[in-house]
């Protein structure tokens, strides 16, 4: 983490972190297609995935523009391998049961929403514009996921146990979201992206409130995974990309 950071390079990184996270989470959520526990959730899950893919187009589109090497959002999505992906580890977690999918969504939304609120204040108007647009969608995502976490956490014995198991499993993947590295720091200093340390307070408060109402207990262990933002992922991402990228990789000359 050197002292001198090229701001455009940092912005490219920062945009990939946003766009890759929405892409990967959108992919995971879309894996539910036609398999949700109730029809309303089929609709909601497709809707969330759709929003996230739309946001991916905007973030990665801008990333390509900032980079200036003629890579489009599709090039970035379909023609990079795992080490170039900058998504958070949390979003590449496998779906598990509906409880895991929901808890993952909530823990992410609770970060995503204040993050976008911060980004809406960016000195880079391109960033701010995307954040405003995405922010409206994500406000709804958070409302839905928080509500469902409460209802299933404080639901039946089984639903409570499943939500607690999901929380225990996913908790160690949340730390990374709020620990800035040199890239985050440079972008925050330049007023382009919010200070991640600042997000922690908001996230903590929100998550504690909702989980308390859901009668769920935050795990005690302080251990946190890290590396996703820097391109060091779990074994799951490679399998996801093999699926996601099959057609553009197999038919590089085709347009669709």
């Amino acid at each position: 983490m050197g002292a001198v950071v090229d701001l455009d390079a940092a912005l490219f990184e920062g945009l990939c972190r946003l766009g890759d996270s929405t892409l990967v989470l959108g992919h995971r959520v879309s894996e539910w297609c036609g398999q949700a526990p109730v029809l309303e959730e089929d609709i909601a899950l497709a809707n969330v995935a759709l929003d996230l893919i739309g946001q991916t187009q905007m973030w990665l589109g801008l990333a390509g523009e900032v980079e200036g090497r003629e890579r489009t959002s599709d090039t970035l999505a379909y023609h990079r391998d795992v080490w170039d992906f900058r998504n958070l580890l949390l979003v590449e977690r496998p779906n598990g049961d509906f409880g895991h999918t929901l808890m993952r969504q909530f823990l992410f939304d609770a970060w995503h929403q204040p993050m976008l609120a911060g980004l809406a204040q960016s000195r880079d108007t391109r960033v701010a514009e995307i954040a405003v647009k995405a922010g409206k969608e994500v406000a709804y995502h958070l409302e839905r996921s928080a509500d469902l976490v409460i209802r299933l956490g404080d639901g039946s014995g089984e639903s409570h146990a499943r939500m607690q198991a999901a929380l225990d499993t996913l908790w160690p993947y949340t730390g990374e979201m709020m620990v800035p590295d040199a890239t985050d720091a440079a972008l925050a200093e330049a007023g382009i992206m919010p200070d991640l340390n600042g997000l922690r307070t908001t996230w903590d408060a929100l998550v504690q409130d909702v989980l308390a109402e859901a009668t769920l207990t935050i795990p005690e262990s302080g251990f946190m995974h890290k590396g996703g933002k820097q391109g060091q992922h779990s074994e799951h991402l490679g399998h996801m990309l093999a699926t996601m990228q099959f057609l553009p990789r197999a038919y590089p000359d085709a347009t669709w």
């Binding site: 892409l23 992919h27 879309s30 894996e31 297609c33 036609g34 398999q35 949700a36 526990p37 109730v38 029809l39 309303e40 959730e41 089929d42 609709i43 497709a46 809707n47 995935a49 759709l50 893919i53 739309g54 991916t56 187009q57 990665l60 959002s73 599709d74 999505a77 379909y78 049961d97 509906f98 409880g99 409460i150 209802r151 299933l152 404080d154 639901g155 039946s156 089984e158 639903s159 409570h160 499943r162 699926t243 996601m244 099959f246 057609l247 553009p248 038919y251 000359d253 085709a254 347009t255 669709w256």
Partner: protein, 311 residues
């Protein structure tokens, strides 16, 4: 019988029947079967398309496909609601589906094997569905008619998107053209089957037409579909897999080969390429989702009882 005559008179006069009004048991039953089957088709129909969401070849195509399956789930919801006005719950309908007592459109028992199939499903399957559904906007049962109006608007959008995928594929690389032609080959006859066998000898059909639950004969609609689709295939430079297809100037429409009705009845019986897997997927969703539905109900019960306890 007097009631019945009055009922028929209202239908003949083009009036809409509303849920709380009197209706013959046969009318109600036929509607429940038809609307329920249509709803199930929307739900099961998500599966062959869902098969390609994770492999959509561009972010734009992925977004469009997601929007489409979202619409389909939405259509399912409208239709289950319309059925519910007839006194049957969504859960009852779902259980009838899973028990094999109700059907869904057989077309969804065919697999989607390449990306071009997603185009073919939009172009041909949604095309055939629209052909069936447009007249149903004028059906006699109010809630069904209103549901169809909303659905048709979105479906024609889906069909255009499907055609657009096919156009890209048919004018693309050699491999893409192969996929496009292959998709047409596999989906042509199953699409023709979507209208059902010739209803010349069906008593049911005649009654349904009198009640304006069914607006056209199967053969009329099939002919219309062929006449609309063949020029589109020509435009795409694709070959309809029917050596006997030709323009018949006398009737002002195409002569075409009948699909293999033995295959149709086999698939209906459960012996299609994907019947077992489609039902298994729905069964798994239902079983795996039980704890979620129970949990939500348990929470609702707590909310409901809390204020009472506080009194």
């Amino acid at each position: 019988p007097e009631k019945l005559a009055a009922f028929q008179a209202r239908i003949d006069a083009g009036e809409k029947i509303e849920p709380k009004e009197w209706m013959p048991e046969g009318y109600r039953k036929t509607l429940i079967r038809q609307i329920g089957q249509h709803a199930h088709s929307e739900i099961v129909g998500q599966l062959p398309e869902g098969n390609w969401i994770t492999r959509a070849p561009s972010l734009e195509r992925k977004a469009i496909l997601l929007a489409k399956v979202q619409d389909e789930a939405g259509h399912g919801l409208y239709l289950y609601c319309a059925a519910e006005t007839l006194g049957v719950s969504r859960d009852e309908l779902t259980e009838a589906l899973l028990a094999g007592k109700m059907k869904y459109s057989s077309i969804f028992n065919y697999p989607t094997l390449t990306w071009a199939d997603i185009g073919a499903v939009g172009w041909l399957v949604d095309g055939a569905a629209i052909m069936n559904q447009v007249p149903l906007q004028r059906t006699s049962f109010g809630p069904y008619s209103r549901a169809m109006i909303r659905i048709c608007k979105e479906e024609s959008f889906h069909q255009r998107q499907g055609f657009d995928i096919m156009r890209k594929m048919a004018t693309g690389t050699k491999a893409q053209r192969h996929m496009a032609q292959d998709a047409l080959n596999r989906f042509w006859y199953p699409s023709l089957m979507m209208f059902g066998p010739s209803d010349a000898d069906s008593v049911h059909s005649a009654q349904s037409i009198r009640w304006k639950i069914k607006m056209n004969t199967n053969d009329e609609l099939r002919q219309k579909f062929v006449d609309q689709t063949v020029p589109q295939a020509e435009y795409l430079g694709l070959t309809v897999p029917d050596p006997d297809l030709r323009w018949n100037a006398d009737k002002g429409g195409y002569d075409f080969s009948e699909p293999d009705w033995d295959e149709f009845f086999e698939v209906l019986k459960g012996n299609g390429p994907c019947n077992t897997e489609r039902l298994a997927a729905r069964q798994k969703a239902w079983d795996d989702g039980a704890w979620v539905r129970d949990g939500l109900m348990a929470h609702a019960a707590k909310q409901h009882s809390a204020p009472v306890a506080a009194e």
